[in-house]
Amino acid sequence: MQIIENEKKYDVVIVGSGAGGGMATKILTDNGLTVALMEAGPFFDPADQDQQLHLKWPYESPRRGKGSTRAFGDFHASYGDWEVDGEPYEMKGDTKFNWWRSRMLGGRTNHWGRISLRFGPNDFKRKSIDGLGDNWPINYEDVKPYYDKVDKLIGITGTKENIYNEPDGFFLPPAKPRLHELYYKKGAEKAGVKVIPSRLSILTKRISNERGVCYYCGNCGRSCGVYADFSASSCLVFPAQRNAQGRLDLYVNSMVREVSVDKYGKANGVIYINKDDNSEYRINAKVVVLAASACESARILLNSKSSYHKNGLGNSSNMVGKYLHDSTGTNNMAFIPDLMNRKTYNEDGMGNMHLYTPWWLDNKKLDFPRGYHIEIGGGLGAPMYGFGFDFNSLNKFFGLQVGGYGDRVRDEVKKYYGSTIFFASRGESVPNENNYCEIDPEKKDKYGIPILRFNYKWSDYERKQAKHANETINQIVDNIGGHMLWQNKGPDHGLLTPGEIIHEVGTTRMGSNPKTSVVNEYEQLHDAKNVFVVDGGPFVSQADKNPTWTILALSWRTSEYIVDQLKKQNI
């Protein structure tokens, strides 16, 4: 197929407009560079009334919010979920991996949970602590200044706690906990489990005149129409566009296939398919920044084959795609009789829990190496599709009759409204070379781009951790007189399928040895000095935290490095 050349030559082309790509766009354009931002999905602005999802009522959807075309519900601000039309992926043998993709400006940051946790000093040096996996080539002090800047630029709630491995930052005031959260705290503290206010990238206080303040609709997953939560589109790309005075070109519906190289094997831009006319185009740039999400960036590198890079770009080590790892996760739910027959009030609050449990134990005293944190859910939420199913099944805890119809329906639905708590443990897995994504030898997507194939298995490290999480939660529930709605049993102890926590990282890991890693400490390919990866790919290990705040901080750090290296004409 003929490739159509774009005459313009950019300083930098960025692939993907999510967390990593959005941040790179902002920092690079603020520093005067000319940037092309490539995004596979359409333009998205949560404040555009045709695209807006927040403050809608369940009955504005003919299916009352059922997730028929969106896995997490009809109002979830995601174009794409575990499946994307015409873009399949495969799994090897009997292994399983669930891959969440969202194709839109801002990517997954439009609908993410806004849980914004810094890594702590230990999280960069796990090998030194337990001998497993590898250390990062950088430490907390290297990243701290960027975490601080991200806190101030984007905004985050929180409290000073002085916990060594949960470093404090520049916080906006926390919100008072909801009723079920107070019960959780009571039960948890009785069990010796720490509970602190949440660290969410939601504005409980104004940080600039460009963005609004949270008015507590509880639905950040729909993307905030007044920009009071963090989305890469509204908080990074739009401000960059306003500042850049024509130095930023946004290419939407543009699916990048590969990084192109000149006749000396040096990267000189990207080749993409314009979804509107199905033709292939080329963008010329001095520097290429990949931020298409960890697995997608690995895919682009592996598909960038040339006589110089037979194995794919940046892959002389054979490490691209390897060490893929996701957070661990279990889900539990409990019925709390003390929360029955509630007086109702507006309890929407912020778009996630108001408090949570960071990892509180020492693994040296446990039979598994890495920790987890606990997120919770519950309260007087909006009744959407699925509300009232098996309306009085909780009667069984009192030996009362289950089922029936008539006047009792109203009474029993109201009796149990808001009486359950949901618990999600999210933990650190041990990165493993045998968990990977690679190019499927045969299959291609609808654009003719070779697709990914996954190979991923949990080990006993993760299973034992899941078991511990279940036991902890059982104890907390017991302490507040609750009843578990189910028990996660062995052999997997309810460990969710790899990929399902949507914290997949590690596919282009960072290191100082080019034989065992893909990028250096500045997320720069060992094999190609003018190519960088700024999504979760460079993570050496995922902490017992969520990854996005670290993606943002590292992307900022890398962007400053790019500016500096261009100035010095090193790249």
Partner: protein, 229 residues
């Protein structure tokens, strides 16, 4: 053409191929579009097209839909707070079976079974039975717990759809007492409720929670991360 217009063109284009709009003038089509299309909530063009296709199909016959209405009124009887028709439960069920076709067989067979049973027992179809007779039939299938037979599974399915349909409607939401989905100033659980449950923010916490009055003052910190505004 801006996005709004192009969506409209798409909607009208797809309506035009359906029976509803045959023979209408372009202007009339626009008016019908504005009237029938109340579900505007951030759909992608593909989703919009899918919904319009479904909204223009008919699955249940008039008789079946009437049986659903009668059944729904038995499951959630009308009160001053709201009723099944105000909650648009039959419309919701008609839509959901097209949206999620796995419901179709269960519900259609179940409705047939209702009429068959009522004819066998009372010599008339379900809707013509007295309320006592109708309940007599439902009581046979309404209390299943573990393993359900086909009829019990039908009743449990339709009961779930009716209850969810009722409570997710405008009247149902009020009836339930859900008070959110509107701009709010969150300052915690109301004092009286907090007290009833034996909690206190002041006693149990030593944090400075957000101050609703200072929410619009732009945040500033000292170098140690202490908020000073």
């Amino acid at each position: 053409m801006n996005r709004r217009e192009s969506l409209k063109t798409l909607v009208i284009g797809s309506l035009a191929s359906s029976l509803v709009l045959e023979g209408c003038l372009p202007k009339e089509k626009e008016i019908i579009y504005e009237n029938v299309w109340k579900y505007k909530y951030g759909r992608t063009p593909e989703e919009l097209e899918r919904d319009l296709k479904l909204l223009n199909q008919v699955f249940f016959s008039k008789e079946e839909l009437n049986t659903i209405r009668v059944l729904a009124n038995l499951i959630v009887p009308p009160t001053n707070e709201g009723n099944i028709d105000q909650a648009e439960v039959p419309e919701f069920i008609e839509f959901i079976v097209k949206d999620t076709p796995s419901f179709q067989g269960v519900l259609r067979d179940g409705l047939k079974w209702l009429d068959k049973t009522s004819t066998e027992n009372f010599g008339k179809d379900f809707v013509s039975c007295s309320e006592i007779e109708q309940k007599n039939i439902l009581d046979k299938v309404a209390f299943a717990t573990r393993k359900k037979n086909k009829e019990e599974a039908f009743f449990s399915t339709i009961r779930n759809l009716v209850i969810t349909g009722y409570f997710s409607s405008e009247v149902g939401i009020k009836d339930l007492g859900y008070k959110g989905n509107q701009p709010n100033v969150w300052d915690g659980v109301p004092e009286d409720i907090l007290k009833e449950h034996g909690f206190s923010y002041k006693k149990d916490w030593n944090y400075k929670f957000l101050d609703p009055l200072k929410r619009n003052d732009i945040a500033e910190w000292d170098e140690n991360g202490n908020l000073i505004t």
